[in-house]
Structures are given as structure tokens and as C-alpha cells.
């Protein structure tokens, strides 16, 4: 019955797929976690007209920045619990002991997390753009900037979560680590939208954002793998 030499071959692709599917299944079972960041995103944006001024001109001026800052805060919520359950239940340990490279597994998890929590943020922005009185021709640029920008935020934030997941303290430390790293994304994304508002070409900002996305795709899983390995120690 027990033959120690034969084994079913392990493929990286099937490991990647299984993590991705697992994340989707888990999200399906706990839809509240899926909805919470979106509602938060909406509420934060709503606060600004109430706190500053509902004058259309003002809203138009601060709109892109407000939506982006709200998106950053919403992603902080996503990022904060990204690896927590996996760490507490020992799944991270199991990943480290698997022969599949840790950064690949982390990559699968991040990709799934983007689809589960961030894609909804991108999809809901047209509604927010209307609330903030942003002109309709700017909306595609706004959505594009979030489409490229949110994965960067997620990946960089995940590094922070991987570093702090073993600690009992929650979001404050994480924000201190992660928010300064978000500044370039915020600057380029809002400047992209500003260019779009003025009917100018925004390929420059877009290509900078895309290259930041590529760099974070490449480095973040490696850094996260190292951080998780350290935390499990």
C-alpha cells in the first residue's frame, strides 16, 4: 500500500491555480469581507463634500485626489487582514514547507485578492465620479489609473502586512510602514487624472504607473516571501 518512491508529480501551475481557486471560494463564503472595503470607499468619499463644500467647482478640483485617497484607505483595510488567517491557521508554514516557490504562491494569493477586493473598487468609481461632479470624459482615465494603481497599492501593502502579521497590533503600525510608500502612486495617478481633465495626453504618467506596477509585481512577492519566512521563525 505504501510505496515511498512513487509520487504524483507536482506542477507549479496547478499549485498556483489551487491557491487562486481557494481564495475565490473563501471570499464566496464570506461576502461581508468583500463588501466592507467597497462600502468604506463610498463612505469616505461622501464625507468630503460634507466636510469641505458641495460646490461643483470645489468638488471637481478635489475629486480625483479624494477618490484616490479613499481608495488607498480602503485598500489598507484589505491589506490589513490579507495574511492574518493564513498565518494563524498555519497555512503560511505549510506554504514554506512546500516545494513550490513561496513567491509563486504569494503571487497567486495577491492576484486573487486583487480580483476579490480591488476590482470592485475600480468598477464602482463611475458612481463616485458622479458624486464628486467629475466630468464624464475624465471617468475612463480615473478608472484606468485605479486599474493600474490598485495592484501596486495591494502588492506594496502586502509587504507591510507580511512584516507585521505575527504581531498582535493592528493597523496603526501597518499604516506607518505602508502609507509613505504609497505617495508616488498617489502623485502620478492624480496628475494623470488632472491631465485628462485638461484634455492633455497622459501617456507619460500612465507609463510611469505601469512600470511601477511591473517593478512591484517582480519585487513584492520576493519581499513578502522573505518577510513571511521571518515572521514564522
Amino acid at each position: 500500500m505504501n510505496n515511498l518512491s512513487t509520487s504524483k508529480p507536482l506542477s507549479y501551475w496547478s499549485a498556483f491555480k489551487s491557491i487562486f481557486i481557494r481564495e475565490i471560494k473563501l471570499a464566496w463564503q464570506k461576502p461581508t469581507q468583500l463588501v466592507q472595503p467597497v462600502v468604506f470607499f463610498l463612505i469616505v468619499v461622501t464625507l468630503f463634500p460634507l466636510g469641505i463644500s458641495p460646490a461643483p467647482k470645489t468638488l471637481q478640483m478635489i475629486g480625483p485626489g479624494v477618490i484616490w485617497i479613499a481608495a488607498i484607505l480602503a485598500i489598507m483595510l484589505v491589506v490589513e487582514r490579507l495574511f492574518r488567517q493564513d498565518y494563524q491557521e498555519g497555512t503560511i508554514e505549510a506554504w514554506l514547507l512546500s516545494t513550490v516557490p513561496m513567491s509563486l504562491l504569494v503571487g497567486a494569493k495577491l492576484l486573487a485578492a486583487w480580483f476579490i477586493s480591488c476590482s470592485v473598487l475600480v468598477l464602482i468609481t463611475p458612481v463616485l465620479a458622479l458624486l464628486m461632479n467629475i466630468e464624464t470624459h475624465v471617468i475612463p482615465a480615473l478608472m484606468l489609473s485605479l486599474l493600474v494603481g490598485t495592484p501596486i497599492l495591494l502588492f506594496v501593502g502586502a509587504i507591510g502586512n507580511a512584516l507585521t502579521v505575527g504581531l498582535n497590533q493592528g493597523g496603526v503600525l501597518l499604516s506607518l510602514l505602508v502609507l509613505p510608500l504609497y505617495i508616488p502612486v498617489l502623485i502620478f495617478a492624480t496628475s494623470l487624472i488632472e491631465a485628462a481633465t485638461l484634455n492633455m495626453s497622459y501617456t507619460g504618467q500612465m507609463s510611469i504607473l505601469i512600470s511601477m506596477l511591473l517593478v512591484s509585481c517582480f519585487f513584492a512577492p520576493v519581499a513578502i516571501a522573505a518577510a513571511l519566512k521571518n515572521t514564522v521563525n
Binding site: N2, N3, K8, K17, E93
Partner: protein, 209 residues
């Protein structure tokens, strides 16, 4: 063959053990004993590379495990204090997920779950299972894995008598087919396994009896 050479581990500036040496070869089972906090779990984790040892090395079939991490991990099964069972997924889904990341001899989850007495519970979320049943889901992997070295941290806790017997049977069949087992336990196992080696961890160095 697993060889531990001069292993020294500190945790938070406290020396758990220093210069620990032992050898575990095929068909052998080794129990690590010691009071709470003596570093039993740390020793297991250091062997697997989950804990960074201060000194010493682990040799697996003639080569250091740090030089051939992938080859070594392919032949190791680990069950720790946390058993990597997601409480929102069903036992079946958990095994499915685990088998995608670990070398298995077959993917016969049904019979593995039957073996550990979880028939009928395959498709309900793990959070509605009891602590013992939770543990049995993790132990079901022992009937799927085809690794050579089993490293088990307290495998008998929260398991009833019949379950313990079942596990011991599985251990014996693994040992006869050339496997090796390294485990920590507070139970006396010398009755069940004739060839039991023990390592006692005290305040400073491990002694081999």
C-alpha cells in the same frame, strides 16, 4: 538518513539546546522529550528550516539541507501546532488544497477521511467540527503523503484512544516500509514501538538515551 550535527538554538537570548547531535535512519522512530519550554517544537522547526538555528547543520542523505532545500522538503511531512486547516473550508477542500502543494501517493481523499473516522463529514465546513475532528482532518494527510520523514509535533493531543491506536498502526506501517518518524509527545511510547529512540531536552543539552 537524517543527521543533526552540533545544532544550537537560542530563543530570545535563552539557550534552548547547544551542540545537539543525533542520527535518525530508515525504519527508526525518535521521540523528543522534555518539559514545557525546553525547545522541543523549536528543535523540530529548526530541522525543517522554519527556525533559524544559531549553529550546526542538518544533513539529509549526505548533504546539508540548506544546499538542497527542495529535495529535502519533497521528502518531509510536517504537522505542527497549527495544522494548516482552514476553518471555512470543508475537510475535503482542505485535503484537496494540501495535495496540490505537497507530494502525495494518490488523491484518494474519501478513503483517507474514512480512515480517520470522518465519513459523512467530508463536506461541511471545518469550523463546525470539534477540536479532535479538526485534528483528524490534519492527520488524514498521513494516509495521503508519500514522504519519507515525518516530523510530528504532539500528534496525539485531542485524539481519543481508538484514534491513538489507529495512528500507531499507521506509524508502524510507515516504519516497515522504510520511513522515519521524529515526534514530540508527552505519552510513553516505549510499549508500542520496540525500536523507539528518545532524546531528552533539559535546560541545556540534549542527551540521547
Amino acid at each position: 538518513m537524517l543527521e543533526v550535527q552540533g545544532l544550537t538554538c537560542f530563543r530570545q537570548n535563552r539557550c534552548l539546546f547547544a551542540g545537539l547531535n543525533f542520527v535518525l535512519s530508515e525504519h527508526q522512530i525518535c521521540q523528543i522529550e522534555g518539559p514545557n519550554g525546553a525547545g522541543k517544537s523549536t528543535l523540530l522547526r529548526a530541522i525543517l528550516g522554519l527556525f533559524r538555528a544559531d549553529e550546526g547543520q542538518i544533513i539529509w542523505s549526505g548533504k546539508s539541507t540548506t544546499q538542497q532545500a527542495e529535495l529535502f522538503l519533497q521528502q518531509v511531512f510536517f504537522l505542527g501546532h497549527k495544522f494548516a486547516i482552514n476553518s471555512d473550508l470543508t475537510p475535503w477542500q482542505n485535503l484537496e488544497f494540501w495535495s496540490a502543494l505537497n507530494p502525495t501517493q494518490n488523491d484518494d481523499f474519501a478513503s483517507a477521511l474514512t480512515k480517520v473516522g470522518l465519513t459523512g463529514l467530508e463536506h461541511i465546513p471545518c469550523h463546525s467540527l470539534s477540536a479532535g475532528q479538526h485534528r483528524r482532518v490534519a492527520l488524514a494527510r498521513l494516509w495521503l503523503t508519500n514522504t519519507k520523514l515525518w516530523v510530528l509535533d504532539e500528534p496525539f493531543t485531542a485524539i481519543d484512544k481508538s484514534g491513538v491506536q489507529l495512528l500507531q498502526q499507521r506509524f508502524n506501517s510507515h516504519l516497515t516500509s522504510g520511513g522515519m518518524i521524529l515526534l514530540t509527545s508527552h505519552q510513553d511510547l516505549s510499549q508500542e514501538f520496540a525500536q523507539l529512540h528518545t532524546i531528552k531536552l533539559t535546560d541545556n543539552t540534549g542527551e540521547i538515551i
